[in-house]
């Protein structure tokens, strides 16, 4: 079964179609490259796959399943609870002053014990005395507000980057987007975030769960840094790193989320030949760990050297796909890169 299956995915911004009906699959253990001239829609495709954008059309399947969280019983229950709570809140708040006077002020005599029973009776009485339609109206307004709000929030948090990251996609960016003021180690630890389970209060009170988890996380992070050969820079602030190292750190951070598929957006951009060949070795090492790689790249030496399959985009359309040799020989690809159909 394919690890990633993109089915006729389109991404439109207003009238501009950045990605048009693109389909392809990434098999487990493959290094798959996406190439194309500038503006071909490669990064838009990446953004749509990783949840930065919501695709206009089409589907993305991971291991044959949609990573979208389904509308489960829990979702319905959550929306129901929010609806009820807001309805109740609005009913109580709508005339809170007279409610307070009827229940609290009327029953409390200064420095005497408060008759709770009487207060409950007057609470009920208050709602008997108010015309039913007011209370029902307020409840309806609250329910509509809460219900639609909760549903909208749920819908908007389906196809988003954090959900997809937890489903096994990790990515890097065209320009490294590190957490600049954090140390190298902390950057990697943030990458692990989706896999950690300690609650806030564990950390607040420094409970054993928190200590154990952070020790394990630290060890794992150090192992990953060793893997990308940055272990000597653990405490350095990220923005102090040279560019090539920043890219490596970004890859380390992505690996920390234990992805099934790693998406690299132009990992070799701005690298000198030596750094680029180091990067090729690193990508192959990542594949050897059982992580598939989908990469966008312009360095043809890198692309042709390590890819198992290549997909070529031009103006948002897929114009070719195949092994490096097939793509190299394809006349459409040559035309796209060099211009003119007769070359």
């Amino acid at each position: 079964m394919s690890l990633l299956r993109v089915e006729s995915l389109s991404m439109r911004f207003g009238g501009l179609t950045a990605v048009n009906q693109v389909s392809f699959t990434v098999e487990p253990g493959q290094i798959h490259a996406i190439i194309g001239p500038n503006g071909a829609g490669k990064t838009s495709l990446f953004n749509a796959i990783t949840g930065v954008y919501q695709p206009t059309e089409g589907a993305v399947l991971l291991n044959g399943h949609s990573p979208l969280p389904p509308f489960a019983v829990r979702t319905a229950a959550g929306i129901g609870v929010v609806t009820l709570l807001t309805a109740l809140g609005v009913v109580l708040a709508v005339n809170v002053e007279s409610l307070w006077e009827a229940v609290i002020t009327a029953n409390y005599i200064y420095q005497e014990p408060f008759p709770v029973r009487d207060a409950i009776v007057s609470f009920v009485q208050y709602f008997r005395d108010t015309e039913l339609r007011y209370s029902v109206g307020a409840a309806l307004v609250g329910a509509v507000l809460g219900g639609t709000g909760a549903y909208t929030v749920w819908r908007r948090t389906r196809w988003v980057a954090d959900v997809l990251s937890r489903a096994g996609l990790a990515r890097t960016f065209q320009n490294p987007r590190l957490f600049h003021q954090m140390s190298v180690l902390d950057n990697v630890l943030v990458g692990m975030e989706g896999r950690l389970g300690a609650h806030v209060w564990h950390g607040l009170l420094k409970l054993p769960q928190h200590r154990n988890e952070s020790r394990e996380a630290r060890e794992k992070a150090l192992a990953i840094l060793k893997f990308v050969e940055l272990e000597h820079l653990v405490d350095t602030t990220a923005f102090c790193l040279p560019y090539g190292y920043q890219r490596r750190l970004e890859i380390a951070r992505a690996l920390a989320s234990e992805p099934k598929l790693l998406l690299l957006d132009e990992p070799a951009a701005g690298m000198n030949p030596r750094e680029a060949s180091d990067l090729m070795i690193l990508i192959q090492k990542i594949r050897a760990r059982g992580i598939s790689v989908l990469l966008i790249e312009h360095h043809m030496r890198v692309v042709m050297g390590i890819s198992d399959r290549i997909t070529v985009l031009e103006y948002g359309n897929k114009i070719a796909e195949g092994t490096p040799e097939e793509v190299r020989a394809n006349p459409k690809v040559r035309a796209a890169y060099l211009g003119g159909a007769d070359l």
């Binding site: 954090d162 957490f179 003021q181 954090m182 990458g191």
Partner: protein, 365 residues
């Protein structure tokens, strides 16, 4: 190795400064033995302690998570009024100091949640405007819900705090002082733990780059909401302490935009995101605001040096001095008096000899 060694963190003065400040605060009352009655430290320093708690709350939201909150006074007001309603004997509840404090914390958290849920999708300036509006709303609501909050009269008298059966009223300023200092120390400890825990790392990553944090599996909505709720909880705690300290809720107009700005100044002057910095910021800002200016005005009035003109009273120079202090800070020390290590390294990259790109060969193992 070079780059790693140069920026290596250590338990230096910067990272432990908050304990130093708290330690000095704990010893301060000794000075009362020699100082005249009108300069008794235990009484004068209490607002500093309470505003430090307020600053801590704002620091979690603005310093760690990078969400500009201009409505902290509202959360403080909610804390004061909840505490007042739950403890004052004109209401039936009378839960006592700790009950009132807990109630204030819970109501602050609920208010933070209610404000945060619909608005935290907004970014930067827009969120700041919403929080600003929230501050005005709360103030007006408290003024107009006359039947519940007694409107502009405020709620008083509030009972003095108690601790293990001892009352810490205005007549025993030392007890009250140490009670407040103890609570502040707990708040500092918890904030430090938060900063060094998983949640704190999440907050900072959102401040640094929200999109990247999202792509790393962090749910930004959840994290921001958490920061907002924790911040609101600390702000309303400071409100409850303020009420307990004054013995009155004060009037709703006290919790206005100026108070929010004062809290923001405490965080900025001290150093955004730095726990020790917030303490120092509170010492500087509140020390100036509620000790130096007040004493100076009293002194000058006593000597008859102040005439009818509003310009001659030092209390009226307050905002002039605040503004000037902020401008000078931004020009000469934008990271604050006691910055967190991270911010300092970013802003003084060149002075400390760390160029953005150290030589590659140098750093190779």
């Amino acid at each position: 190795m070079a780059a790693g060694a140069r920026t290596g963190a250590g338990p230096g003065l910067y990272t432990q400064a908050h304990w130093l400040i708290l330690g000095i605060a704990a010893l301060l009352p000794i000075a009362d033995l020699v100082l005249p009655q009108s300069l008794q430290v235990a009484g004068l320093v209490r607002p500093i302690l309470i505003f430090a708690v307020l600053g801590m709350g704002l620091n979690v939201v603005t310093g760690f998570t990078g969400l500009l909150n201009l409505g902290v006074a509202a959360f403080m007001a909610i804390g004061v009024y909840t505490y007042a309603i739950l403890t004052c004997d004109i209401y039936p509840f009378q839960w006592g100091f700790w009950g009132g404090l807990a109630g204030a914390m819970v109501s602050g958290m609920v208010a933070g949640l209610l404000l945060g849920l619909p608005t935290l999708r907004l970014r930067g300036d827009y969120l700041a405007i919403v929080t600003l509006g929230f501050g005005e709303m709360v103030q007006d609501s408290l003024k107009n819900l006359d039947a519940i909050t007694k409107g502009t009269q405020g709620i008083n008298p509030l009972p003095p705090p108690t601790f293990l059966g001892y009352a810490a009223s205005q007549e025993q300023p030392l007890r009250l002082y140490y009670l407040l200092l103890g609570i502040l120390a707990v708040v500092v400890l918890l904030t430090r733990n938060l900063e060094n825990s998983r949640a704190g790392r999440t907050f900072i990553s959102i401040r640094e780059d929200e999109l990247a944090a999202k792509c790393m599996g962090i749910n930004p909505m959840k994290a921001k909401l958490l920061a907002f709720v924790i911040g609101a909880c600390l702000c309303s705690t400071s409100g409850a302490l303020w009420g307990a300290n004054l013995g009155s809720s004060g009037e709703p107009g006290n919790y206005d935009f100026q108070l929010s700005v004062l809290a923001l100044c405490i965080v900025i002057v001290g150093g955004m995101g730095s726990v020790g910095g917030v303490l120092l910021g509170s010492v500087v800002m509140m020390g100036f605001n509620s000790i130096i200016l007040v004493k100076l005005t009293a002194f000058l009035t006593q000597r008859g040096l102040i005439g009818e003109s509003v310009f001659t009273s030092p209390a009226n120079w307050k905002y002039l001095v605040f503004g000037l202090a902020l401008i000078l800070m931004m020009r000469f020390r934008p990271e604050g008096l006691l910055p967190s290590r991270r911010v300092q390294s970013e802003l003084h990259e060149i002075d400390s000899g760390l160029s953005a790109k150290p030589r590659v060969e140098d750093a190779k193992p």
